[in-house]
């Protein structure tokens, strides 16, 4: 009723959720056995920046959208350059893609008929 089977594997979300909750409970139990000496607002809670003082302007520290995955996008720059070139924004180019795909589909369908 809850799960599904592909004939190759199976997925039961209720069993998974129970297991997940069980692991959470164990996690919280282990945590509760830890050292309770944590002091809020002291040096214990400060961000460690290689021994430097943490800047006060917390808003300025926020990593903005364009900075995320910079390395990955840079690594794939060749791929992105080509894919972006395809998205010209020019309507006639989009129509040309349609004609091209139509031609390929025709060729395949006729060849394998």
């Amino acid at each position: 009723m809850n799960g599904i089977s592909s004939g190759f594997g199976a997925w039961n979300p209720i069993a998974w959720a129970l297991l997940f909750i069980g692991i959470l409970v164990v996690g919280f139990f282990v945590r509760s056995r830890g050292n309770a000496g944590y002091k809020r607002g002291t040096g214990q809670t400060k961000v460690f920046l290689s021994g430097n003082e943490e800047p006060d302007a917390s808003a300025a520290l926020h990593v903005r959208g364009r900075h995320l995955y910079w390395g990955m996008v840079e690594g794939l720059s060749g791929y992105y350059r080509r894919v972006k070139e395809l998205h010209t924004g020019v309507l006639s180019d989009y129509a040309a893609w349609f004609v091209g795909v139509l031609a390929v589909v025709f060729v395949i369908l006729v060849l394998v008929r």
Binding site: M1, N2, G3, I4, S6, G7, F8, G9, W11, P13, I14, W16, A17, F20, S58, A59, L61, H62, V63, R64, G65, R66, L68, Y69, M72, V73, L76, Y79, Y80, V83, L86, H87, L91, D93, Y94, A95, W97, F98, G100, V101, L102, V105, F106, I108, L109, V110, L111, V112, R113
Partner: protein, 520 residues
């Protein structure tokens, strides 16, 4: 109740269609009267979709017929002596009812979300009129049993969608997107009409069941199939015919972006109906399957990688929506490709692809609604200018996480259940397909981590209000509940609605034809 159920197919089209033309009149009575009227139309339409689905799934997805113009029709003798009955046939099977449920869910939540979202803006009357028209067109595409009517409803959806995409005429980008979509939808519609004309010229009929029984696999049939496949793939937003989609989804008002995804899914449904019911797995099934698989892989990979580099939140979600169309194509493509050699796995792949249509509609609908909330709160679509929203919009943050996890296929949400079926069946055909599909899902999760980090985390920003009004929160929570419930109990929904829908396409061709022509 039985009479209502019997007339549900036509009422599903007629009620929103009449509503579309009545909204401008009711709008003269004031905003409150207009919203009440639209809300009632949306609720009644959704109730009829539920009734129809309960009826169809109650008979295990077997088709039902609704005839306008009498069962016999009135014949006009042609010079050849053939007398063709003039009537309109709506034929609903498990797949049609399944699609009607998706449309009803998105239309209902979209309409109610819009009441608050569009509250301070002008032009609401036209906005709701177009929404109703789009809804009528989508239901028409999903329920008709006639190729020409399919084309007519396709055009109705195109006109209404263009109006909604270019609705904010004060924005140049909105006008440009509306124009591009109008041109490309027209191109798609023209080629679909050409295909319908070819089939009519060859066989002298337009009824899907009649055409399905008459097709011989001639060159004309092959040409018509190519035209229909490409035309509908464009409207579904499959790569490389997807170029309009980011503009359209990105520029439309947020709640309408969700409805536009349902519109694309209706085109995908049309494609499946044509492949399975009209052509009936008789013409180059393996080749058709591989055409869909190649389109699917391109759609998944290009969609998700393009989403990764977007900084406009609407365009980012739009590319994510494009990538999900790929998963649906992959499921059905794998189903076609292995239908002869491994039919059991083909059927599982079909189930996955069809189930993902419903799951995607709920997740992407939720994400577009959340994007609307974010844009409303921050006044920008640029992720680089957002941050700290989780401080003041805790519930919206949670809803975003639910939608994002579900779309990326993180267990135990609904997206995982359908993707699980697609992964497993694809792996059986080729591990490469499964690797691309899984890798792209991981990348999609990375895409939404970017949105969460950029928009919700960070220091609290000045000038951001609190949570959204209840009118916007309730539709979002409703979609989130669908995401969670379908994720926790996928077995129930696969048994009750997905399998009958897949059966209707996979095994139901003879029953579909027989119901119209007899002998089924």
């Amino acid at each position: 109740m039985t009479a209502l159920t019997n007339h549900a197919p036509v009422l599903l089209i007629a009620i929103p269609l009449l509503g579309a033309f009545a909204v401008p009149l009711i709008g003269k009575l004031g905003r409150q009267a207009r919203n009440t009227f639209v809300g009632l139309i949306a609720l009644i339409t959704a109730a009829f979709a539920g009734l129809l689905a309960a009826h169809i799934f109650g008979q295990a997805g077997a088709p039902s017929l609704y005839v306008l113009g009498g069962h016999q029709g009135f014949g006009i003798p042609l010079p050849s002596g053939l007398s063709v009955p003039i009537r309109i046939i709506l034929e609903v099977d498990g797949m049609g009812a399944f699609m009607a449920l998706i449309t009803a869910l998105i239309m209902l939540t979209g309409a109610f979300f819009s009441f608050s979202y569009w509250k301070e803006r002008s032009g609401g009357t036209l906005f709701y009129s177009l929404l109703m028209l789009l809804t009528a067109g989508i239901f028409g595409m999903e329920l008709t049993g006639d190729m020409f009517n399919f084309f007519v409803f396709l055009e109705i959806t195109s006109i209404a969608a263009c109006g909604l995409i270019g609705f904010r005429v004060w924005l140049k980008t909105s006008q440009e997107a509306g124009f591009k979509v109008m041109a490309l939808y027209t191109l798609s519609g023209l080629f679909v009409l050409l295909a319908v004309g070819l089939l009519y010229g060859q066989y002298g009929g337009l009824n899907i069941a009649y055409l399905a029984s008459a097709l011989t696999g001639s060159t004309i049939d092959i040409v018509a199939l190519g035209l229909l496949l490409t035309g509908l793939a464009l409207k579904a937003g499959a790569v490389p015919l997807h170029m309009w989609a980011p503009d359209a989804y990105g520029e439309a008002p947020a709640p309408m972006s969700a409805v536009l995804v349902a519109n694309s899914q209706a085109s995908l449904y049309g494609l499946f109906r044509i492949l399975f019911t009209l052509f009936g797995l008789t013409i180059s099934v393996g080749a058709l399957g591989w055409i869909l698989i190649v389109l699917a892989l391109l759609t998944i990979f290009v969609g998700v990688t393009m989403a990764l580099i977007q900084n406009d939140i609407k365009r980012l979600i739009a590319y994510s929506a494009v990538s999900q169309i790929g998963y649906m194509l992959l499921g059905v493509g794998v189903g076609l490709a292995v239908s002869a050699a491994k039919p059991d796995f083909g059927f599982v792949a079909m189930q996955g692809g069809i189930f993902h249509m419903l799951n995607d509609a709920a997740c992407i609908g939720l994400l577009f609604f959340v994007s609307g909330v974010i844009i409303r709160a921050t006044g920008t679509r640029d992720l680089n200018r957002m941050g700290g929203l989780a401080h003041s919009m805790k519930w919206t943050s949670v809803l975003f996480i639910i939608g994002a996890f579900a779309l990326a296929g993180v267990p135990p949400f609904n997206g995982f259940a359908s993707k699980f079926l697609i992964y497993e069946a694809s792996f059986k055909l080729s591990p490469f397909l499964a690797v691309i599909a899984i890798l792209s899902s991981i990348l999609l999760l990375a895409v939404f981590v970017k949105v969460f980090q950029a928009a919700f985390l960070g220091a609290k920003q000045e000038g951001i209000g609190g949570e959204v009004p209840m009118g916007m929160m309730v539709p979002m929570v409703a979609l989130a509940l669908v995401v969670i419930v379908f994720g926790l109990f996928p077995g129930f929904f696969v048994d009750k609605i997905v399998t009958p829908a897949a059966n209707a396409l996979w095994y139901g061709r003879d029953a579909y034809i027989g119901l119209v022509l007899g002998g089924g």
